[in-house]
Symmetry: C2
């Protein structure tokens, strides 16, 4: 059903290993393989994980070869009886295997370099199905296999990601890209905060929905995590310049409708954007966290070089700690409750002053599962960002579990910090109350 | 090639959706489906992700049905032309579809309850292949499908995880478990800290390697994350009592060789184990972090109820903050450097005293990528845990990137805290220097 012309642009991926089917495990190699294939314009049409069962593996491989021109397998190339990939390929292609003397020598040498004798069992790893060639594995004993068969191609790689990834990089650059034709896929990621996924979709779909039918189509996919919605744009083109121009224009169209809710179009994370903005002013930033318990600080300091602008943060989990460490007036906590705009502001001002910082962030909320009240249900979170001359404070109500409410709160704390630094208004998502930015505190 | 007797114990999973093949995305439903099937003794032999392409989907479904008795599909049940699962099933089974009037009424009512008219396009969702019945979806418009065909079974579920999971739970309990026979799979997870994956394997394989050939085999798989190695044990049995007894015995055998490096056999996380031990003494715990930047605090406060034993933590990223906020003597930093055992101890003692806590933790290190020296390369991390009467301090050298070195450090900080509370020696992994526990500081 596939035309011969198109087959080289389509691939399937097969991950081999019973351990990959045990519940907590997942096949992560295929994400890497898919991304690298996609870079060179090869589309993955199906991915399969199959256990160490010879009949199943042969069946899956046969079916994949019938559908697409390129099949990439990972795993099952070790020296033991459980390692069935070589045998399954030989059986499916009806190509007997032969020992490759040069390959055998390489494997022997690899053991010799570590002062060891090659175990007899490893001799199997020098077997190559007829028509195939070995792919060198600089980091392990299991060589890969490259087997062309009619207009089809099988690439088999060892399972350990640290061996598979560099081997596949070389294959993509040296062997697959030339076969794949001149097209490459170019990407841009637009990261937003302050709108829900459906709000982003509602605003942006009228734009990106029209792109797919244009002469140079731009494909868009939406990815959401707590407080962050990303638009992943891609263009297939033989010209980097044309693709870049198309993507630049596409990004501008999206930014025009999403405005300052877009915080990154160059791959930077929110914590990098915030850090760069603080550093650009020669400022220091200090955070006082309650419900997020250190998440905001951990994200800020995840960035290499963050010691340029982070000196001290505090996790003031109890009311006493808020009072004694941040100087939050005890009567504010008593009169308004720990989760209130006056307390969040006092936390932000307190940590800013005590850390000798230029910008202070205060986060206080009810992450759950307990601690909610009718007036302040679980998910209620107040975030304040202050400098010596201005501030933002917002009350949010996040809709989720403890873990996700904390992630929402950390994300929105970083986002409000970004907005104060950029001088832009806060997005509406999840906001239930807000005093006006810049009001005297 | 499969016998009729075994077929009901084997399943395959097919996730349908082109968006699942776009690089950053992954199919997460299959992890849930695999775990629930495994609970009732049904083994998943292969999992496939396939795009919204009718021919590919039919081919993948046909092949899966040829291999196994149960095929669970997710996605592709929506109302649009892209939603091909219904049609593909009908084509593969050669069963024409018919509109289910009761189902159509349910879908209409669902829209009516929200004050909306059912769009004409949604009428497709009332189509059911002959021999199939609809599975109610209380949380969305797309009903599921249950189709028995010869000795085979197809279950099709909508893609959104929040709809799929409760639907599948009911199916497993009410319909699949009775078909699956009396066996269930019982599990236990042994969590360890303080040894590398290969150290755990070397110590424990002589034990668990023998289990697979016993009359009631116990299967074991190892999962590693920075600083934590888990052994996942499972037993298949028709008797919960027999399985429990076997697993209890298996856990005891492993604990006997891994000793106090095991921190959990009941599912609790390391931060829960630490929190429970602190709470059991009526104590408070306080943490002063440098290189981990808030990760230890974030993990501790991830536990609901952690406000019982966490009041105040500090992220003292700069030397000034260590001196002014924790009372670390300036000459200690000058003489030994910020990443040193005297400074880590002074941080732990400082936060303990200033927070009025009973146990203090100090973490200081060089996460990378810069900041290393020949004497203290990237990855060097010192962790101290102190009480009024005792302490542990250890110098580690973690082998990885900034992100993972920070995860290692947070894990080992919690692990050393656990060990001090339990009065057990620290594990050897990654330790490059240690003064003796309890030495006067």
């Amino acid at each position: 059903m596939n035309t011969g012309v198109e087959r080289p642009r389509w691939a399937e991926i097969i991950a081999v290993g019973s351990e990959l089917l045990i519940p907590p495990r997942a096949d992560t190699n295929s994400l890497y393989l898919t991304a690298r294939l996609s870079d060179i314009g090869i589309e993955v049409r199906a991915k399969t994980v199959v256990g160490d069962n010879r009949a199943d593996l042969e069946s899956v491989l046969r079916d994949a070869l019938a559908r697409t021109g390129i099949v990439v397998l990972s795993g099952g190339l070790g020296p033991t009886d459980d390692d069935l990939t070589r045998d399954a390929i030989a059986a499916v292609l009806e190509s007997p295997m032969a020992e490759d003397p040069a390959l055998l020598e390489q494997i022997r040498e690899r053991f010799a370099r570590r002062g060891a004798r090659m175990p007899a069992v490893n001799r199997r790893q020098a077997l190559v199905p007829r028509g195939g060639v070995a792919i060198e594995n600089p980091l392990g004993t299991a060589p890969g296999l490259w087997i062309e068969h009619g207009d089809g191609l099988i690439v088999a790689l060892p399972g350990p990601p640290n061996e598979l990834m560099p081997m596949f990089d070389r294959i993509v650059d040296e062997r697959l890209a030339p076969r794949a034709g001149p097209d490459r896929v170019y990407r841009r990621v637009i990261k937003t905060s302050g709108r829900t996924e459906s709000e982003v979709e509602e605003a942006a779909f009228p734009i990106y929905g029209a792109w797919v039918t244009e002469p140079l189509p731009v494909l868009t996919t939406i990815l959401a995590s707590p407080g962050q919605v990303e638009l992943h744009l891609s263009v297939r083109s033989a010209s980097a310049d044309i693709a870049d121009a198309r993507l630049c224009d596409a990004v501008l169209q999206i930014v025009a409708v999403l405005g300052p809710d877009v915080f990154s179009t160059d791959g930077r994370t929110l914590e990098e954007v915030v850090g760069d903005a603080v550093r650009a002013r020669g400022w220091f930033l200090a955070v006082a966290e309650s419900c997020t318990g250190g998440l905001v600080s951990a994200r800020l300091t995840d960035v290499p070089g963050s010691s340029d602008y982070v000196s001290l943060n505090a996790v003031t989990y109890s009311n006493e700690a808020k009072v004694s460490w941040l100087g939050v007036p005890g009567d504010l906590v008593r009169d308004h409750g720990a989760v209130s705009e006056p307390v969040a502001l006092a936390m932000a001002n307190g940590i800013r002053q005590r850390a000798g910082a230029d910008i202070g962030v205060g986060v206080t909320g009810i992450a759950g599962p307990t601690g909610g009240t009718p007036a302040k249900p679980v998910g209620t979170t107040v975030i304040a960002v202050t400098t010596a001359t201005t501030h933002i404070v917002r009350t949010f109500r996040f809709p989720s579990t403890r873990v996700r409410n904390r992630q929402f709160a950390a994300q929105l704390a970083l986002d409000l910090t970004r907005r104060l630094l950029a001088g832009v208004e806060a997005g509406p998502a999840f906001v239930v109350a807000s005093s006006r930015a810049g009001e005297p505190t």
